[in-house]
């Protein structure tokens, strides 16, 4: 084994942590607090709900349901949330009729019980005071009757022309009911046309499938089966459809001792790239030659010339060694030719680790072309009436397409959307869309599994209409969304007991089986090489990991959550390789002007180790211009630079420093722990020396009942942040705003540290979630002057907020830096129906930290005691554990030798972070298994 490369933190380029200029003007955070209040208000405040009046001076309301029902006080609903039009199953926990927490649905194939950060944030957007609530014409609220009249006149005008001039624009549609509603409109108005728009769509994948198989299929990998996975720009652990499922399968295969060898070729590091066994940084122009070289080595494509990528033979031999258990995945940003090459390689390998499934979208089509077609029609004056249902093209269409200007000229444009966003401002009509947690609907998962979306809470906006309801109103045959969904499934389940099937689908959260995989032969003419793009500085567009192309930009939790690899919060930056940054003579945080085909954009630049040289990644989703104060003007809007055809990369980028500084807010330098001591790794099958117990003159505290402990498997952690957002949602953790974050005052109880190992050009990355360690010899406890932090009978290090006087000595003395101080009073803004009533709110001036979800322990203990039985292992699940897609977090009773956590702690990979300090932490880690790359 070669000398181990010590893990280290990310770049800390400036001696001083990067701080926005405003910090200097307000050293004590006066501006910051006002800012934070505004942001918090935007995130949490809730307009008065019907039936929830001001609490009387004495006596607090106890909401009894109108009818006797056993679980009315707290209930869980199985429903779905969509990401890029595809469903993930969730369970929504409600208290007193309010949705307070989203958790994964174990029965749904796209969740398996896990969530991602976007699903967790759904309760926040549900209660967002800046969501749209009223029907508007020209920006002014009008009564619903005016909309009915407008739709009636639309109907008569369009009917006269047999539908000519009517266009419908939606996001990607996988919902059978919405597809039915659209088809009804198209049948009634034959001249009407339906377009789809998704800024994050992978049109090349569709084209690649057409070339390879002649039909639009979706390629779904089986990460549990695969022994070798070559990702050509694909991110199965992060950005790919079905990522929760793939991450779970990948982690289970690793845990079972048959780790799939993950080879990732990509330009900008992704979560999959960070956890790859072999990562190949590739300039976008180098992707197709690389794929072709691997394909040639596999015999799937004609041999290329003598120039071949040095990594290609290695990748090919790894695939060949795995044989039918190998799979090649092409992702966003890869050209259609690369997708076709991937299909050809899978065919050549006889891969059984991937399935070709009927596409889950109702009408898979190249979305960029569909939108461009619409824009051309609008410019040519062929469009008189445009219905935009749940899309926001005025923001997320490429600016080069000129959609905004075309939309402005339309005589009738109607926007159905959740917020008054950029598109709503340009449309003549705006109709509020209900939140997915409020409305009936249905959708399909990445593998085609259908599920029904049922409302978990009463609608907070009485004027909101679903897409289906609006389309029915256009036809003049009003229907409720529920009736439409029922009708769809009544038709689908003919010959079966509908009521039983319906009840089962609502209870289980799954409405049927995934379609059977297709067995398709490779077409003869699949290989159509693309012209090789010019070399030189290229722009690479990528969805921002926090704001996801802008659709999630108004979620304060997501804005403040440090992005997994860059640790940037509240904005974005032009990311490039450190060597590119140095070659351009730039310092991290310098503002640059980017120019592409005459379009210009100002952006701060930031180094990202492992980024391919000579290209710049521009995260999509910043710089929102409307929709609410949380997302507006956070970072830059990369759509301004994107080519009109929605390409994922473009050559010919020019970059000029402006001489100004605009450093993004990053938490990379916060809460640093000596990396060499925090993180351990072992070779496959290896074990760490297990130190004995420290000698002590004092007798140990006895824990005769339960002794709670946690083990976090660093080999499974993919750094997706789901645990951290779940913790924030569960524990009412406040959002503090960019200025306070830049001062190191973020409040996250659980942070995910990111370390890079190895050379800056292509490092491996490790993630380490760090909650409170609940040390048995806690350094925070003896230094508290008022005994506000102490141990309980089950070994929890508890924090008594009422006793705390805010000396912050405990935080100073904490070697793990997991204690957070309330610099402001966040209670007023947190005290809304969105909060978790099980967790108290903390006043200003007190410390807070991870409690091991002590409220969950208490309620599980009460339930067990009331039933007269002992607690079962696995009965207490912390919020972070529940959310984790890879089940990296195990929690339980370490007194029970058979509990999952005890078994994890018996592993040879077990170690305590900074264990040599003798703190005896209850939260411990399992070392990462790292192959020694010779």
């Amino acid at each position: 084994m070669s000398a181990p490369t010590l893990p280290r933190h990310g770049p800390d380029p400036s001696p001083e942590p990067a701080q926005p200029a405003a910090l200097l003007a307000a050293p004590h955070g006066t501006v910051e607090r006002r800012d934070a209040l505004k942001l918090m208000g935007a995130s949490f405040a809730l307009a008065a709900l019907g039936g929830c009046d001001e609490a009387p001076e004495h006596g607090h309301p106890l909401h009894a349901p109108a009818r006797a029902s056993d679980n009315a006080a707290s209930a869980e609903y199985a429903t779905i949330l969509e990401l890029d039009g595809l469903a993930r199953g969730v369970l929504v926990r409600t208290r007193g009729g309010h949705a307070v927490k989203v958790e994964g649905n174990p029965r749904h194939p796209a969740s398996l019980g896990a969530t991602d950060i976007f699903a967790e944030a759904a309760v926040l957007s549900l209660h967002d005071p800046h969501r749209s609530r009223s029907i508007r014409r020209g920006g002014r609220p009008v009564p619903p009757a005016a909309l009915e009249a407008a739709l009636a006149s639309l109907r008569s005008e369009v009917t006269a022309r047999a539908g000519q001039g009517l266009r419908i624009l939606t996001g990607p549609v996988s919902s059978p009911t919405l597809a039915w509603a659209i088809s009804e409109v198209l049948a009634e108005f034959p001249g009407a046309r339906w377009h789809q728009h998704d800024p994050l769509a992978d049109d090349a994948a569709l084209e690649g499938a057409m070339r390879a198989f002649g039909q639009p299929v979706a390629t779904v990998p089986d990460m549990a089966r695969a022994r070798a996975v070559l990702c050509l720009g694909a991110d199965p652990l992060g950005g790919m459809a079905g990522h929760l499922r793939h991450a779970r399968d990948w982690a289970s295969a690793r845990a079972a001792g048959r780790p799939p060898r993950l080879i990732v070729a990509e330009s900008a590091p992704s979560l999959s790239g960070a956890r790859a066994d072999h990562r190949i940084p590739l300039h976008p122009a180098g992707m197709e030659p690389f794929a072709r070289a691997v394909a040639a080595a596999l015999g799937a494509a004609p041999p290329t010339g003598d120039e071949t990528h040095p990594d290609a033979p290695g990748a090919a031999s790894a695939l060949l060694a795995a044989g039918p258990d190998a799979v090649v995945l092409a992702g966003r940003g890869a050209s259609a030719a690369v997708h076709a090459l991937a299909h050809a390689m899978n065919a050549r390998l006889g891969s059984t680790a991937c399935r070709q499934l009927p596409h889950p979208l109702t009408r898979p089509e190249p979305m960029a072309a569909s939108l461009a077609d619409l824009a051309a029609g609008m410019r040519a004056g062929e469009v008189s009436h445009l219905l935009i249902l749940g899309a926001n093209p005025a923001y997320d269409a490429p600016a080069a397409l000129g959609f905004e200007a075309a939309l402005r000229r339309l005589p009738f444009s109607l926007h159905l959307g959740f917020r008054q966003d950029e598109t709503a401002r340009l449309c003549t009509w705006h109709v509020p869309l209900p939140h997915p947690l409020e409305a009936w609907g249905d959708s399909r998962a990445f593998d085609g599994t259908p599920a029904i979306r049922q409302p978990a809470t009463a609608s907070l906006s009485d004027q909101a209409r679903c897409e289906v309801e609006l389309l029915a109103a256009v036809r003049g045959t009003p229907v409720t969304a529920r009736a439409a969904v029922e009708a769809t499934w009544r038709a689908a389940w003919t010959g079966q007991d509908f009521d039983a099937r319906w009840a089962g689908a609502l209870e289980g959260g799954v409405a049927g089986e995934a379609p059977a995989p297709l067995s398709l032969p490779l077409r003869e003419d699949w290989d159509r090489p693309s012209p090789s793009p010019p070399a030189g500085l290229a722009a690479v567009f990528a969805p921002d990991p926090g704001t996801r192309g802008g659709a999630e930009a108004h979620e304060a939790w997501l804005q403040e959550m440090p992005r997994p690899l860059t640790k940037i919060t509240w904005g974005n930056a032009a990311l490039m390789a450190p060597s590119t940054l140095a070659a351009l003579g730039l310092q991290p945080g310098d503002e640059v002007e980017l120019e592409l085909d005459g379009r210009r954009l100002l952006a701060p630049c930031w180094p990202l180790p492992g980024h391919a040289p000579d290209c710049v990644t521009l995260p999509l989703g910043g710089g929102r211009r409307a929709g609410g104060p949380v997302g507006e003007r956070r970072g830059f809007d990369a759509y301004a630079l994107r080519p009109a055809d929605g390409a994922w990369h473009a050559p010919g980028l020019a970059l000029r420093p402006t001489g100004r500084r605009a450093p993004p807010v990053t938490t990379d330098s916060h809460h640093r722990v000596d990396a060499a001591e925090a993180l351990r790794s072992v070779p496959p099958g290896g074990a760490l020396p297990q130190p004995g117990r420290d000698a002590s003159l004092h007798r140990d505290w006895p824990y005769p009942g339960h002794a709670w402990g946690m083990a976090i498997d660093l080999d499974a952690c993919i750094g997706c942040n789901a645990c951290a957002v779940a913790c924030q949602a569960e524990n009412n953790v406040p959002v503090v705003g960019p200025l306070a974050v830049s001062q190191g005052r973020e409040m996250h109880w659980l942070r995910v540290d990111r370390y890079h190992h190895g050379a800056e050009e292509n490092p491996a990355a490790s993630f380490q979630p760090v909650p409170c360690m609940h040390c048995e010899q806690a350094p925070c406890e003896p230094v508290c002057p008022v005994n506000a932090t102490l141990h309980d009978h089950e070994g929890l290090n508890v924090m008594v907020h009422a006793r705390c006087i805010g000396t912050r000595t405990c935080s100073n003395n904490c070697p793990y830096k997991v204690r957070r101080f309330n610099w402001s009073d966040h209670r007023r803004l947190l005290d809304t129906p969105a909060r978790n009533p099980e967790v108290s709110l903390r006043p200003r001036g007190v410390m807070e930290k991870c409690t091991y979800c002590t409220h969950r322990i208490s309620s599980a203990r009460s339930n067990a005691a009331n039933e007269g039985r002992a607690l079962r292992d696995g009965e207490v699940e912390t919020a972070c554990q529940r959310a984790c897609p890879t089940r990296a977090i195990t929690f339980g009773d370490i007194n029970d030798p058979d509990s999952a956590v005890s078994r994890a702690k018996d592993s040879g990979r077990h170690y305590a972070m900074l264990g040599q300090l003798g703190t005896r932490p209850r939260t411990t880690y399992l070392a990462r298994v790292a192959e020694d790359e010779a």
């Binding site: 004495h58 109108a66 007798r699 005769p704």
Partner: protein, 210 residues
């Protein structure tokens, strides 16, 4: 040079200091007495309820079981409040002419919640589990007082932390049914000694606080 202070200035100063101190002590004592008294904890003060409900009639006169309306008291953390359907289930037949039930009928018609006002609500940072207490043999009246004698429901005890701890330190004194005193999985069973000092899980912070 004339004297600035008279001969009695010292005496006056001393008197003022003594009186000042006495006032401060008295104010402190009065404040202490006030927060210890029932008035500060809203004992005996009724809360405005959607309908003028009388426990004296239902629990006292009719001898209805508490669990008839508060059905979760033995199974859940919250005891549960009666739904409009529960009330009107009887009152459709008896005493059904009164206009007092309008809020309940409205709730039933609209499917909205009935907003009862709690007189015994604990602060935010306390987690109280009704089932854990009833199963351990603590009677309703230990905390809620003689509800069956209350025409208008009022708080009977301070429900302060001291009130809770009095019982948690010596649970046997309030347990109505002795059989449930030491259940195998209850927290009481987990008392243990450390350096000869008894540690009771019932008095640890995290047992009640969240």
């Amino acid at each position: 040079m004339a004297q600035i202070f008279s001969a009695r200035a010292d005496t006056r100063l001393r008197l003022a200091v003594i009186i000042g101190l006495a006032i401060a002590v008295l104010a402190g004592a009065a404040g202490f007495a006030h927060v210890r008294s029932g008035a500060a904890w809203a004992i005996g003060r009724p809360a405005p309820q959607p309908i003028p409900f009388s426990h004296a009639v239902h629990a006292g006169g009719l001898e209805l079981d508490c669990r008839f309306c508060h059905s979760g008291v033995e199974r859940r953390a919250d005891a549960g409040m009666p739904s409009a359907g529960t009330c009107l289930g009887c009152h459709d037949r008896v005493w059904n002419v009164t206009a007092q039930f309008v809020p309940l009928r409205a709730a039933l018609a609209r499917g909205t919640a009935v907003e009862w006002a709690s007189v015994s609500r604990l602060p935010d940072h306390v987690r109280f589990d009704h089932a854990a207490h009833t199963v351990a043999g603590v009677g309703c009246e230990s905390c809620h007082g003689k509800v069956e004698e209350m025409p208008r429901t009022v708080r009977a005890e301070t429900l302060s932390m001291g009130f809770c701890l009095d019982c948690h330190r010596d649970p046997g004194s309030r347990q109505v049914t002795a059989a449930s005193a030491m259940r195998p999985h209850g927290l009481q069973a987990r008392r243990h000694l450390h350096y000869g000092v008894e540690v009771s899980p019932l008095t640890r912070c995290s047992t009640c606080h969240r």
